[in-house]
Amino acid sequence: MEYKIMLVEDDASIAKLLSSHIEKYGYKPIIVNDFDRILDIFIEENPHLVLLDINLPKYDGFYWCRKIRQISKIPIIMISARDSEMDQVMGIESGADDYITKPFYYDVVIAKIKSQLRRCYGDFAPGVSEERRIELEGLTLYPERPELHFNNNSTVLTKKEAVLAETLMRMSPRAVSRDVIMEKLWDDQAFIDENTLNVNVARLRKKLQEVGIDDALETVRGYGYRLNVTWRK
């Protein structure tokens, strides 16, 4: 089933970028261009979810949110540059289900869309039932277990090692800077430092050895690390 997502955003660039990203995840975006007829378009298209900006020409997002709420219960997510508590409270009070502040991350938007769809229409949003898997020339990482498989060997990773492995595998054969890796490893409660990174790199090297891969994780001096595919015959 293809979900229709209505996108009400008056900045054309954001609307375009966001809609093409939504499309990648298998949803069907509907971009609204006529901001006087938001409610009519909503009724015509009958989308499964609405992404709603607050700063719109003429009437604002709060107004349209209330209008839509009068006729429908579908999930509405507000996206706005206004980041004050007051605006978020007003957004939710107008009937929105969630609130995202600009600038935002694609991942956050997609995750919130997924969660709203799941709550509203059951558990069949795309990609939810399937376990995430990253593959690189026969080396497979299951980030949710987290486990690393190669040939018939497998080893269990820690959460941090899995994040590190995922980053390196996705970027291979390009090098990844230390800063980028550290940002991914950063934990909201226990912050990391250079040392944590070094330790995790050393551990991941050992785990790679355990599954039979030697000398693949290369240190790029003064920059970061690279995962070279040395196991290809």
């Binding site: 206004r82 800063d179 550290m182």
Partner: protein, 327 residues
């Protein structure tokens, strides 16, 4: 009273002179028959003078009171000065002046409000292109230039936030609510918001705050304070693997929130002026990325929230800023 005497001394002198003159004149003409008549003459004249002065004093008493006691409020100038012509005139003058000033003040208030709205709208408008660049960067993740652009983007965002907060500060009275705030969660939140900055500068945070410790403050502004202090701590730390420590503890003056770095420190001649607006000092010139507004805004916000702020620094060793939640 003093003003009254000053004001009337010329009258009194004129009167006495006039009396003396008439007295001599009469005497020479042989107008006084007995000594008693002379006393009577002097007594009558002085009595009349006294009555006149008393009358003057009491009829204009309110005016003189007003003149001695300077007004402390703008509205005080409008209180009545009495019913004598001079009092009425003074009242009229003051009222006219009051109206003229009010007009000007209203005009400036309107301009200030317009400016505030403009800044607010402008900052939010600027967030749209930032969001667009942010999205484009996410699509090009892994390219070498992405990190550089992202860094600059963060600088722009920091600057915009500063402008927004500066504007908000002028309407502070309508924009804060004192509640019980968990210090630990505020510190963690702000540290996480600054994670890229930490990583890029290779400076690492350490939060040593009891997770139950609370203070009475405004959450949003307290976050702003901590953010500014952290950004400063990161900015002025040179070299790798140095720590910024955010801690909180009880002291005899009250609860204390402390942000401590091992950075370059502030030169002695600058430290007394760091809370002045637009003052950048030696570090500002050296590091270049200074507006001179950060600590000024922090101290202003502290003043309005009723928190004390202390700064201590040794060049080459680091800086320590303390926010003291008194009472």
């Amino acid at each position: 009273m003093k003003i009254f005497l000053h004001d009337h001394i010329s009258f009194v002198l004129l009167y006495l002179f006039n009396m003396l003159f008439l007295f001599i004149f009469y005497r020479n003409l042989g107008g006084f028959e007995t000594l008693e008549n002379v006393y009577y003459f002097i007594f009558l004249s002085s009595f009349l003078l006294g009555v006149f002065l008393l009358y003057r004093y009491f009829s204009n008493k309110r005016l003189y009171d007003m003149l001695t006691k300077m007004p402390s409020k703008f509205e005080d100038t409008l209180s009545s000065a009495g019913t004598t012509p001079i009092s009425v005139g003074v009242n009229k003058l003051l009222r006219a002046q009051y109206n003229l000033y009010q007009e000007q003040i209203q005009m400036y208030k309107r301009k200030q409000a317009e400016h505030l709205t403009f800044i607010n709208q402008w900052v939010h408008q600027m967030k749209t292109p930032i969001s667009v660049i942010h999205l484009i960067l996410q699509e090009n993740e892994g390219e070498p230039y992405v990190e550089n652009i992202r860094q600059e983007l963060e600088r722009i965002s920091r600057g915009l936030n500063m402008a927004l907060n500066m504007a908000r500060l002028t309407s502070f009275e309508h924009d804060f609510t004192v509640e019980t705030v968990l210090l630990h969660s505020i510190a963690i939140e702000v540290v996480n918001e600054q994670k890229r900055y930490f990583i890029r500068k290779k400076v690492y945070p350490e939060v040593r705050i009891d997770s139950n410790m609370t203070v009475k403050s405004d959450k949003k502004w307290l976050k702003f304070i901590v953010e500014q202090l952290l950004v400063n701590a990161i900015k002025y730390t040179e070299g790798e693997n140095k720590k910024v420590i955010v801690s909180a503890y009880d002291s005899e003056k009250g609860k204390v929130l402390e942000v401590k770095d091992r950075g370059v420190g502030i030169p002695k001649q600058d430290i007394r002026r760091v809370f002045e607006p637009f003052y950048t000092g030696e570090n500002g010139r050296k590091f270049g990325e200074s507006t001179g507004m950060g600590l000024y805004l922090v101290s202003e916000v502290c003043k309005k929230l009723g928190h004390q702020i202390e700064i201590e620094s040794k060049p080459g060793e680091g800086t320590c800023v303390r926010i003291i939640f008194t009472g």
